[in-house]
């Protein structure tokens, strides 16, 4: 439905615009900027997952692992005093793409619950591998004393620059996912998700398409991981664990599956809730959990569905 698609785009642009204007409209304080960075990075990661789940029908429960690979690329290179984006970025891209290719080559052969379990298993393998990397913090995690440099400059230390870097990356992720889904490649993915037999019966073997989608999604997540490592200035095995993967899935569903604006809205609301609720009570998860459950039950189509962006 073109009308629904347009609303989806409009909603996304509005959110991006608000994020662009926020630091200039009195929300420039440090704690706001930290919050925004977290929102945008998770929004980008959720977008890449939404591309997999809503686009290709690949409900990965190991998506955080790909994000963690990107974050650990930053940590490991930093430990070896390689601190410039010109090296960190290509290494992170290659590492997360390779990780997704190797795990995806096996996982994508399966479907449904099996796919979920296999991606979960790979995610936990990554988690335990990270825990055992004692040279890079092991269980305790790795503190990043200086953010990654950009061509020798310390631009990323500037909160404003970092804010717009994250925003730029979010915009890139969104454009990339939207473009891919509309392309020939994306059409085959969408067809495979809805009716794999039909896709085969017009001549498409789904495997290579699904695998490539998995690698693209994982690589985008890896890039989000690079930003996340820099935002938190700390890298821990927990970044890769199944809880984090579950949170990402939740953001996608909370926002509305099948709409890219949904992943962004879902991530923003999720981050807001997990930031505000602990101020009310230390038992905030007792409130957080039911809110999420009620949201899923009563908001069919998620936040973006409620706001009128019909499924495209």
């Amino acid at each position: 439905m073109p009308r629904g698609l347009k609303l989806d785009t409009l909603l996304t642009l509005l959110v991006l615009l608000a994020l662009a204007a926020a630091p200039l409209l009195g929300f420039g304080a440090n704690h706001y900027m930290t919050l925004f960075a977290r929102m945008m990075i998770f929004a980008a990661a959720a977008l890449s997952l939404s591309f997999l789940v809503g686009g290709a029908g690949l409900a990965s429960l190991g998506h955080a692992a790909a994000m963690g690979v990107g974050a650990y690329a930053v940590a490991i290179l930093d430990a070896h005093r390689v601190t410039d984006m010109t090296t960190v970025l290509p290494v992170a891209i290659l590492a997360s793409a390779l990780f997704s290719l190797l795990t995806g080559a096996i996982a994508v052969r399966t479907e449904g619950v099996n796919f979920i379990m296999i991606t979960l298993a790979f995610g936990q393998m990554a988690f335990f591998t990270a825990s055992s990397l004692s040279a890079y913090g092991g269980d305790d995690g790795y503190t990043l004393y200086d953010r990654t440099e950009l061509l020798g400059s310390r631009l990323l230390e500037s909160r404003l620059f970092f804010h717009y870097l994250c925003l730029g990356f979010l915009l890139f992720c969104w454009g990339m996912c939207a473009m891919l889904l509309a392309s020939r490649f994306g059409r085959v993915l969408r067809a495979t998700r809805e009716n794999a037999l039909r896709a085969q019966a017009v001549g498409f073997a789904p495997y290579p398409y699904r695998l490539l989608a998995y690698v693209i999604g994982g690589t985008l997540a890896g890039l989000a991981g690079v930003l996340f490592a820099n935002a938190s200035e700390f890298i821990a095995p927990a970044y890769m664990g199944w809880q984090r993967s579950g949170e990402l899935i939740f953001m996608v569903i909370l926002g509305g599956l099948g709409r890219l604006s949904g992943a962004i809205l879902g991530a923003i609301v999720f981050v807001l809730l997990e930031t505000w609720l602990p101020n009310i009570t230390t038992h905030w998860k007792m409130i957080f959990g039911p809110i999420l459950i009620l949201a899923v039950i009563f908001m069919r189509g998620g936040l973006s569905g409620v706001l009128g962006a019909r499924r495209g």
Partner: protein, 259 residues
């Protein structure tokens, strides 16, 4: 058909000694048949005769235990379903199989896309590829769905969905159509439309038609093969099949052959 005509009319699809066992049950028992260009070869038989299993082996979703499937002089017995479609063997499904969330046009354009260059293209919106849309529109016009191009496929009536299935098969530029009960579940009016459609298609495509509607089979088919308990018990022109005592026996108590 004359002497010269026979030479031209070499089989496009030829099934040779196909066998499939499930446990001790021979579901396909030494089945051989062929389909020539431009003809409708109908496959009939009582429920449980093994028609669907046979169709699956021809289209590539079930692998036979023995025998060969030869299409356009190439052995395709071991090819996957997608590869067979690319070779020109399109199928429709007994239970409607469309992409319900796609528009009618996109359902058909997807099939056109499979036949028009690589689908590992990432930049241009597929919906704006006029070449694919034109192919899709032609196929839709052919089955009488041109006006419904922008509707969501899931919202079509049952008869329209059956027609859409055929349009999808046509858009993949097939040489042979494998139609698995295209009339299943259609009302009398829809049936009439679909029969007229199949008659129009007959001149241009070889068709292997599996159908329960005997009226339709006898109206459309050039040749008929009768499958019972996994074996072909009779094969010949409509007149020959109508006269065959064996066929009557197989159908006795099932349904009467129309005369």
């Amino acid at each position: 058909m004359g002497f010269w005509g026979r030479a031209v009319a070499e089989a496009l699809l030829s099934i040779q000694g196909l066998r499939k066992h499930y446990g001790g049950l021979a579901v396909t028992n030494d089945v051989s048949l062929d389909v020539r260009p431009g003809e409708i070869h109908a496959l009939i038989g009582p429920n449980g005769a093994g028609k669907t299993t046979l169709i699956h082996q021809i289209s590539g979703t079930v692998t036979p235990d023995a025998g060969r499937v030869v299409f356009a002089d190439a052995d395709i017995t071991r090819l996957s379903l997608p590869r067979r479609v690319q070779a020109g063997l399109a199928r429709s499904f007994q239970i409607t199989s469309i992409i319900a969330g796609f528009s009618v046009l996109e359902n058909v354009a997807l099939a056109a896309q499979a036949k028009s260059g690589s689908s590992f293209r990432f930049f241009r919106p597929a919906a704006r590829e006029e070449k694919l849309n034109a192919t899709a529109r032609n196929a839709l016009a052919e089955v009488g769905l041109a006006e419904r191009a922008n509707a969501i496929a899931g919202a079509l009536s049952h008869g329209e969905k059956r027609a859409l299935e055929i349009a999808i098969a046509l858009a993949s530029a097939p040489r042979l159509l494998l139609l698995d009960e295209p009339l299943a579940g259609a009302g009398p009016e829809e049936t009439e439309k679909l029969i007229a459609l199949l008659r129009r298609l007959k001149a241009r495509y070889a068709i292997l038609l599996v159908e329960h509607d005997m009226q339709a089979v006898f109206a459309l088919a050039d040749r008929i093969s009768v499958l019972a308990e996994g074996r072909i018990i009779a094969s010949g022109s409509t007149a020959e099949i109508r006269a065959s005592a064996e066929v009557r026996a197989a159908y006795l108590g099932d349904e009467d052959l129309p005369c």
